[in-house]
């Protein structure tokens, strides 16, 4: 700053304060612009869902919240009102059921395996754990097609939508890193009290590693709620169609009813957004701990 040379020593603090204030203002400005980029599509989705379909695609006025009504919502339920189209409630029920089954199942199954690898002694453990770690690099995309080939007989069932995602190598690894930090004395005390491995795990270890369970639950939920590729391959019957597949079909209807598509999307995401807003801290913590990979 050339200015600061001319300022008297006594007033230097004042000028620094002033630049600091400018910097803060600039910081807020950038934050606002960035936030707008991330928030506007969300806003557009929600506001558009309450506006007449014809006005959703109407230039900048698409952002203006006028002529609000619930027509699009009733429209979605009317539009999706027969066996052939499927029902919105049914899509939601399928998604909720499959996601709940996967999250619950993966919490139980993967935590037990991780506990076994982290804290129990058995023959062949090391080599098998190494294999599990290697498996973490195989993304679902790499096995989707052969899996479809293997289970094409099970198409259009709820069961096949959930079961492949319960055992998860990365969840095992995440649980493993958490279980390593459990102090050995706690388990030792439980053992001296006569608790077997099942009781030690479920009554002693699980209650003190809740953050691990929250982390895996959140990451599994996010992946499963949006799962699209597997339903594309496995689901053609509208009665077992989950929400992501359903919205991809619904948005393709002719003639397009954009207001209804946005209403569908809002109902798809608002419950999740609400949970996110309440538990944001947990979401953030679970994502940052997913980077412990090493």
């Amino acid at each position: 700053m050339a200015m600061s040379k001319t300022v008297k020593p006594g007033r230097r603090g004042g000028s620094m304060k002033r630049t600091r204030r400018w910097q803060t203002a600039l910081h807020y400005l950038i934050l606002t612009v960035v936030s707008l980029f991330f928030f506007l599509p969300v806003y557009y989705l929600i506001v558009g869902s309450f506006r007449p379909s014809a006005e959703v695609l109407s230039g900048i006025s698409g952002f203006v919240p006028t002529n609000l009504s619930l027509d699009n919502y009733t429209g979605v339920f009317e539009h999706l009102g027969s066996e052939a189209t499927g029902y919105f409630g049914q899509f939601a029920a399928v998604s909720i059921l499959v996601t709940t089954a996967v999250v619950a199942g993966s919490l139980v199954v993967n935590s037990m395996a991780a506990y076994s690898f982290a804290r129990m002694q058995w023959r062949g453990k090391k080599i098998i754990f190494l294999l599990v770690i290697v498996l973490t690099i195989i993304p679902f995309e790499a096995v989707a097609l052969p899996l479809y080939f293997m289970f094409s007989g099970q198409r259009d069932t709820i069961f096949i939508q959930a079961i492949p995602f319960i055992a998860n190598a990365f969840s095992i690894f995440l649980f493993y890193t958490f279980f390593l930090d459990v102090p050995g004395e706690i388990e030792e005390a439980a053992r001296l009290d006569g608790a077997g491995p099942f009781r030690t795990f479920f009554q002693v270890v699980v209650p003190i590693t809740k953050p691990a369970f929250a982390t895996v639950a959140i990451l599994t939920f996010l992946a499963q709620w949006g799962s699209y590729l597997w339903p594309v391959l496995m689901v053609s019957d509208p009665t077992v169609r989950p929400l992501p597949l359903a919205i991809s079909i619904f948005q393709n209807q002719q003639p397009p009813e954009w207001g209804q598509v946005l209403a569908f999307g809002t109902m798809f995401i608002v419950p999740v957004l609400a949970v996110f807003l309440v538990f944001q801290r947990w979401f953030v913590a679970s994502i940052s701990s997913s980077a412990v990979k090493g």
Partner: protein
């Protein structure tokens, strides 16, 4: 990670014999605990992975009366020499590479910039963070639907209207997804919108773990903010940045949901946005050419493995992440 393991196992060593003797009745507890997950991984990950290898050597269709026929490496050679196939597959691979070459640096730098932006104690920061994190919970299928409307062609499309407004009508409306020159770029922007906050959170955690003493030392040396950033922050989070870059590379090759959804609705130019994954699904599922798709899957897997090996090697070189 490794030091942690040793710390915990070392004190356990002397007492090792006693608990294992005391637990003799639970000799099978270890394998029993692990077995449900291992069974699941074996059936739904290892088996299809092996099956992909096997199928790639056959000419095979699903529900076909014709039996599968062993063809050796034919599926692979056709993938690279058959003019029809090779052009399409090469194009898809190229699209994935282009996507990665743009997204990896852009998204990593953006993640870092955003993390620095929100890593400051300012009033109202919680609100800004919430806005920035929001897209994180959006499924890709929904993201694609919203952005399809934003990108709508014609001057009523949102993006076109905004650009028209700010340029005073100087910019004419553009078919963002339909034009081959902007289709992939449009998909890149929507993908970054959805996923950059994921990377940003990882970088933010790393930023907060850089020891504050380092900054104090640097400011004693009269290093300005920018010098501090380059000499303290960046080296301090180097491994995290590499990690983020590599997971983003892997994401780039897994690209599927947005592209498939948009191409099904015919709103995106196919040739310039086709990816290896959409090719696999089109070939194996829509056209029922399972053997050919299996060969593509194997190549896809090879690419992912190479990236993962690079990631391990880089991480190890620096003494682990």
């Amino acid at each position: 990670m490794t030091t942690q393991t040793q710390q915990i196992q070392a004190p356990a060593a002397p007492v090792k014999r006693r608990p294992s003797a005391g637990l003799s009745g639970h000799r099978f507890a270890g394998p029993l605990f692990a077995s449900p997950a291992l069974l699941g991984l074996a059936i739904f990950l290892v088996a299809p992975f092996v099956l992909a290898l096997v199928l790639s050597f056959y000419r095979v269709q699903l529900n076909s009366p014709r039996p599968a026929r062993f063809v050796g490496f034919e599926q692979y050679t056709r993938l690279f020499t058959d003019p029809d196939l090779a052009a399409a597959f090469g194009h898809a691979l190229l699209n994935n590479f282009t996507f990665a070459v743009i997204v990896v640096p852009v998204q990593t730098v953006l993640a870092l910039a955003l993390a620095v932006l929100v890593n400051r104690k300012l009033r109202g920061m919680v609100v800004f963070r919430t806005f920035i994190f929001m897209p994180l919970v959006f499924p890709l299928a929904l993201t694609a639907v919203i952005w399809r409307l934003i990108y709508s062609r014609g001057d009523q499309g949102l993006l076109n209207a905004i650009l028209g407004f700010f340029s005073g009508g100087g910019l004419t409306s553009h078919d963002w997804l339909g034009d081959p020159t902007t289709a992939l770029g449009s998909i890149i922007v929507m993908s970054i919108w959805q996923s950059v906050s994921f990377q940003m959170i990882i970088v933010l955690a790393a930023l907060q773990s850089v020891p504050t003493e380092l900054y104090e030392a640097a400011s004693l040396d009269r290093a300005n903010k920018w010098a501090q950033f380059l000499n303290v922050t960046v080296p301090g989070i180097r491994n995290t940045l590499i990690f983020v870059a590599l997971i983003t590379t892997i994401f780039s090759f897994r690209l599927f949901d947005q592209v498939y959804l948009l191409s099904r609705s015919g709103s995106v130019d196919r040739g310039s946005t086709e990816t290896v994954m959409t090719q696999i699904i089109n070939t194996g599922f829509d056209n029922n050419n399972v053997g050919q798709a299996a060969a593509m899957t194997v190549i896809f897997m090879l690419i992912i493995t190479v990236i993962a090996i690079i990631q391990r090697a880089v991480a190890r070189q620096r003494g682990g992440v």
